[in-house]
C-alpha cells in the first residue's frame, strides 16, 4: 500500500509544481536534460555509441556480419534490433528474455532506422538470394533514469553513422563506412493533465497519463510514432507534440550528429 501512497504523493507534488510551470529539476517543459554522446568506445563492435541523457545511460553496439536474406527480400540486407533491459540498470528490470517493454523499445528504435530509410538495404546485398550483410543493433541499457526511447534511438543512429562494414574480415573487399542516408531522431513527451513535458525522467514517466514518441527525419518528415502507457491524448496535443518534437530533433541532430 505504501508504494501506492508514495506514488500519489509524488504525483501530487509533481502536479502542483507543473501548475506553476515548473519541473522538479528546474527544466522548462520542452527542455532536455544534458546530452552526452561518445562513439567508438567498443573496439570489438563495428559501431558503438554511449549516450547519456541526464543520468540515463545507454550503450548501443552495432555488429555487421554476412548471413542469409529473408526469402521475400532476396536482394536486401537485414536489420535486427534488440534491446536488453538488464537488471543492472534498474531495480524494476528482471533477468530473462525481453519483456513487452523491452520488445516495444527495440521495435520503436528499429522503426526509426527502418522507416527513415537511414540504411540503404539494397546496398547491403552481397550475393542476391544467398548472402547479405546483417546489421545487428544491440541496445544495452545501463542506467534507467527515464526516457529510454530517445536515448536508445540516438545511440542507434550514432552507432550506425560511425560503423564500418567489416568486409576484409570476410574476404569481401576492403572495409568501408556503413552508408547512412538519413538521420532519424526520436523525441518523447509525456502528458500530464493538460501539460506536455519533454524528455521525462523516471518520476515524471511514472506519474504521466500517457507518453508519445515521435521520430522525425532530417527533412522534417515523421517516420515513426508510438503512444505508450494507457491514457488519452487529443489530436491537438498530438500536433503540439509533433511541432516541438521536430524542433528538438533538429537541435539534437545538429549538435550531436553534425548533420
Amino acid at each position: 500500500m505504501s508504494d501506492v501512497v508514495m506514488a500519489e504523493i509524488r504525483k501530487d507534488y509533481l502536479y502542483h509544481l507543473m501548475l506553476k510551470g515548473e519541473r522538479a529539476d528546474g527544466r522548462a517543459f520542452d527542455e532536455y536534460r544534458e546530452i552526452s554522446l561518445e562513439t567508438g568506445l567498443i573496439r570489438k563492435a563495428d559501431g558503438s555509441a554511449l549516450v547519456r541523457l541526464g543520468k540515463t545511460t545507454v550503450m548501443v553496439g552495432v555488429k555487421i556480419q554476412p548471413g542469409e536474406p529473408f526469402s521475400d527480400t532476396p536482394n536486401k540486407g537485414v536489420i535486427i534490433t534488440n534491446a536488453e533491459l538488464v537488471p543492472l540498470a534498474s531495480p524494476n528490470f528482471e533477468p530473462g528474455p525481453p519483456n513487452e517493454v523491452g520488445i516495444e523499445l527495440a521495435r520503436v528504435v528499429d522503426r526509426g532506422v527502418r522507416e527513415s530509410g537511414a540504411i540503404d538495404l539494397e546496398s547491403l546485398c552481397i550475393t542476391p538470394g544467398e548472402k547479405v550483410w546483417i546489421v545487428f543493433i544491440d541496445v544495452h541499457i545501463l542506467d534507467d533514469c527515464g526516457n529510454l526511447m530517445d536515448a536508445s534511438s540516438l545511440g542507434a543512429i550514432a552507432a550506425l553513422m560511425t560503423a564500418t562494414v567489416p568486409a576484409a574480415q570476410y574476404a569481401l573487399g576492403e572495409d568501408y563506412p556503413l552508408p547512412v542516408k538519413d538521420v532519424p531522431v526520436a523525441t518523447t513527451a509525456v502528458e500530464f493533465g493538460d501539460s506536455v513535458i519533454f524528455d521525462p525522467d523516471t518520476d515524471e514517466e511514472s506519474v504521466a497519463d500517457t507518453k508519445l514518441t515521435v521520430i522525425t527525419t532530417a527533412d522534417g518528415s515523421i517516420c515513426g510514432m508510438q503512444k505508450s502507457r494507457p491514457g488519452f491524448i487529443s489530436q491537438d496535443q498530438i500536433y503540439r507534440i509533433v511541432d516541438i518534437a521536430c524542433e528538438r530533433a533538429k537541435e539534437i541532430r545538429e549538435k550531436f550528429l553534425e548533420v
Binding site: M1, V4, T73, P98, N99, E100, V101, I103, E104, A106, R107, R111, R114, E115, S116, G117, L212, T217, G220, S221, I222, C223, G224, M225, Q226, K227, S228, R229, P230, G231, F232, I233, S234, Q235, I238, Y239, V242, D243, C246
Partner: protein
Amino acid sequence: MIGMDEKLSFFKDGLRLDGRLPDELRPIKVEVGVLARADGSCYMEMGDNKVIAAVYGPREVHPRHLQEVTRAIVRYRYNMASFSVEERKRPGPDRRSYEVSKVSREALEPVILTSYFPRSVVDVFVEVLQADAGTRTAGINAASVALADAGIPMRSLISSCAAGKVDGEIVLDPMKLEDNFGEADVPIAMTPGGEITLLQMDGRLSKEELQRALELAKAGCQQIYEIQRKVLVDRYSHMDDAGSCDEAVAEEEI
C-alpha cells in the same frame, strides 16, 4: 512499409483496387456473444480480417504477486493462428504480437473502470483467424464489444482503424496489398468523444499528411462505433434468450 518494388497503380478512376473510395472502410461484420465459455465475446470481420475476442473476468489473479490492491489489472493477449497468414506462422507469441498486445491493452485500459474490482484481473484474448492488414484494429474493436458483452463497466466503447498513404494519397483502412506497398500506416483507437488511446505510425508523412490521416481515421472510428453500438443494442434488446451458453444472436453487416 517495404516501398514499391514494381510500379503498381493503386487507383483506377478514383477508386481503389477493391473498388473502395479513398475514405471508405472495408465491409464489417460483427457477431456478439459467439462463445459459450467466455464471459463476453465477439467475432468480427473487417474486409478479409477475421478475428474473435473473448473476455474473462473480473476474476482472481494468478500468479498472486501481480495483484493490484486498488484496481483490477487488465491483460490482453493478441495471437495469430498459424494458418491466418500466407506463410505458416509458428504457433505462440513473437515480438510483434507482444508489442501489439501491449498497445492494444493500453488502448482499452483507459475506459475500463478498473477501480471497481481491486485485486482482480480482466483478461482479454484475441485470436486472429485470418489476417489482411488491420488485425490489431479489428482485434481492439472486437475486444471492446466483448468487454461490453461481459458486462465489464466501461466509460465508453473504443473504436479503432487505420489510415495509410498509398501512391501519395491518404486512404482509410488499408488492405494488405496497400499496406505492403504503401508509404505509411497510422493505426489509431479512440473513444466516441474523440479521445485517442492508441496511436502508432510507420512510414513517412509530412505534418499535413499526418493531420489528414488522423482526420480520416477518426471518421472511420466513428462509423465503426455506430456498428459496435448497434450490435450491442440489438443483442440486449433480444435478451429473452439469455444464458451463458447462447450463441451468436446479433449480427450486423455494413
